[in-house]
């Protein structure tokens, strides 16, 4: 079950404020990095809800995000809708897609679930890749960002846009934390630890899996809108399975089932990518080595491992003071 410790709040605020400061003091390039981190972190939180809490390791979160981005593009470019309802439509499409995948794969588990989500993701990718109406592999352009001039904010400005994505990241975190702390979050934990037992307590696990992936899809949908608004151009690459794989790497790197870990993972992943690629093109190899180290160290991820150490030290401290009390 999710709990918001002081350490988590502290790390969350530290990262969010750090990102805003980095964007505010940095160059255009720094702001691009902040946007990239924020979008990846939202996706990683979305996957953490499904995989870390619900035990559903999905390889279609890239596709879910892409569905949102494409729906946003279709509604605003093809049908000429204003940006806000288009964004709502995009997020809803992602939630519906997630729910559908969860519903259909509701009785599969483990490797079969992973393969099924991979298949759904690739189906969505192929569908869009082959669609002439959607521009095929050329993608779609002509997108707009929100018009927030009534708030005195110009999202066309790189700093404002970077701050806006960080605010969205904060809101997504709050939404995920709120849902995971509800009764639904408990059911999700139960689903993860023993699905049979949950069924024997009368819980319809298929519906809950569908709901979980639907909510996770909704969060991924937010990332899709931001991705579309970021580049103002979208291509089927967004839906390709390697994007989903990258999200999974970020979650595992940061710490599965910690919600803050995925944000830490996203920061690390994007930073490593940009720093290392200044020296070599093989930045994937460096990320791979870090990932292997993180997995071999116990699979808790970087943030998860730090939490584990802290808990260990607290326990040791308690025992010591208990011994002192005895003496």
């Amino acid at each position: 079950m999710f709990f918001q410790s002081h350490a988590r709040t502290a790390v969350l605020l530290f990262v969010l404020i750090g990102l805003v400061l980095y964007a505010a003091t940095g160059s255009y390039f720094a702001r691009e990095i902040v946007v990239e981190i924020a979008i990846l972190a939202i996706l990683a939180i979305s996957l953490d809800v499904a995989a870390g809490y619900g035990g559903m390791v999905s390889l279609c979160h890239g596709a879910i995000m892409g569905m949102s981005a494409y729906t946003y593009a279709i509604l605003s470019v093809k049908f000429g809708l204003p940006t806000l309802p288009s964004a709502v439509g995009g997020i809803a499409a992602a939630a519906v897609f997630g729910t559908a995948v969860g519903w259909i794969t509701g009785r599969t588990a483990g490797i079969f679930f992973i393969m099924a989500t991979l298949a759904f993701g690739q189906m969505a990718y192929t569908l869009i890749f082959k669609s002439r109406w959607l521009g095929g592999d050329d993608g779609m352009g002509g997108l707009d960002r929100f018009d927030l001039s009534w708030l005195g904010i110009n999202l066309g400005d790189s700093l404002s846009f970077a701050v806006y994505t960080v605010v969205c990241l904060g809101l997504v975190y709050l939404a995920a934390a709120w849902v995971l702390r509800s009764g639904f979050g408990r059911t999700l934990s139960g689903l993860h630890s023993n699905e049979d037992r949950l069924q024997a307590l009368g819980v319809n696990t298929v519906i809950h899996r569908a709901r979980a992936l639907g909510f996770s899809g909704l969060l991924a949908g937010v990332a899709g809108i931001l991705a579309a608004q970021h580049t103002l151009y979208i291509s089927p690459e967004l839906l390709f399975w390697t994007v989903s794989g990258e999200i999974l790497i970020v979650v595992i790197l940061g710490g599965l089932g910690t919600l803050v870990g995925p944000i830490v993972g996203a920061v690390l992943f994007v930073m490593l990518k940009h720093e290392v690629s200044e020296y070599t093109n093989h930045w994937h190899m460096v990320v791979g080595l870090v990932l292997i180290a993180a997995v071999l160290a116990g699979g808790r991820g970087i943030f998860g491992q730090i939490e584990y150490w802290a808990a260990d030290r607290r326990r040791a401290g308690k025992e010591q003071s208990a011994e002192a009390g005895d003496a």
């Binding site: 079950m1 059911t187 037992r197 069924q199 819980v203 696990t205």
Partner: protein
């Protein structure tokens, strides 16, 4: 309340039950006994729907049980597995709340009543499921089953691996449930525990019921003892 007729079931191709029949009367405690590997746990898993019924019938309150454990649970069959299966990532309170979501508007069993019933759990409410002792886990597993407001409680070896003093406590609690009118189907290796609680007894051998009678009958039947329970 629960009636099994010619039940055939097992794991995939391997059949374990070859025509099991017995009836659990409402308000009684029915003990299902026998040596290891005769099909006791398989019988329970088939009743709740974890294993598919390959032949025969199982009726609960006059109508056939469902293929889905979830539907059977909603109809009032609560199962406490041998492994207890506490949700380790949830606290004691959360384990109970999760099960309680199923109960109706005016549940008979609330968290307060479960804690009243198992006072050991009171100080452990905020503890994680993984931090409990075996006895506390068993109490929580039974408490969690009660939170679904069951009509029949299906228990698989509730005393397994527990200290004698804890076994006594659990015994007293099940006795209390029984006098409250709860129907119980009990699989148990601990003979004195089972006979102390049970009204009726079925002895299983090779996937079938080989002997049936009351607990008193069994106490006086040395032959059945020797043949189906002795080692």
């Amino acid at each position: 309340m629960l009636e099994l007729k010619g039940v055939v079931s097992g794991y995939g191709e391997t059949r374990v039950l070859h025509g099991t029949d017995f009836v659990v009367a409402a308000g009684s405690v029915h003990a299902l006994l026998g040596r290891n590997g005769v099909g006791k746990s398989t019988t329970l898993k088939t009743i709740i729907g974890h294993l598919p019924l390959q032949d025969g019938s199982i009726a609960f309150q006059g109508s056939s049980i469902d293929r889905s454990p979830q539907v059977n649970a909603r109809r009032g069959i609560a199962y406490v597995p041998e492994t207890r299966d506490i949700f380790g990532s949830l606290s004691v309170q959360e384990n109970l709340e999760l099960a309680g979501r199923l109960a109706g508007v005016n549940p008979e069993w609330t968290i307060a009543r479960v804690i009243d019933f198992f006072p050991n759990l009171k100080d452990r409410l905020s503890n994680g499921g993984q931090e409990l002792s075996g006895g506390e886990q068993q109490m929580l597993a039974i408490g969690r089953a009660l939170m679904t407001d069951p009509k029949v409680l299906v228990l698989d070896e509730p005393t397994e691996g527990l200290a004698p003093i804890i076994i006594q406590q659990i015994f007293a609690k099940l006795k209390e449930l029984k006098s409250g009118g709860m129907t119980v189907l009990l699989v148990e290796q601990n003979l004195s525990f089972a006979l102390g609680l049970a009204d009726d007894v079925s002895l299983m051998s090779r996937g079938q019921i080989a002997w049936r009678g009351t607990a008193t009958d069994l106490r006086n039947d040395d032959v059945a003892h020797e043949k189906y329970l002795g080692v």
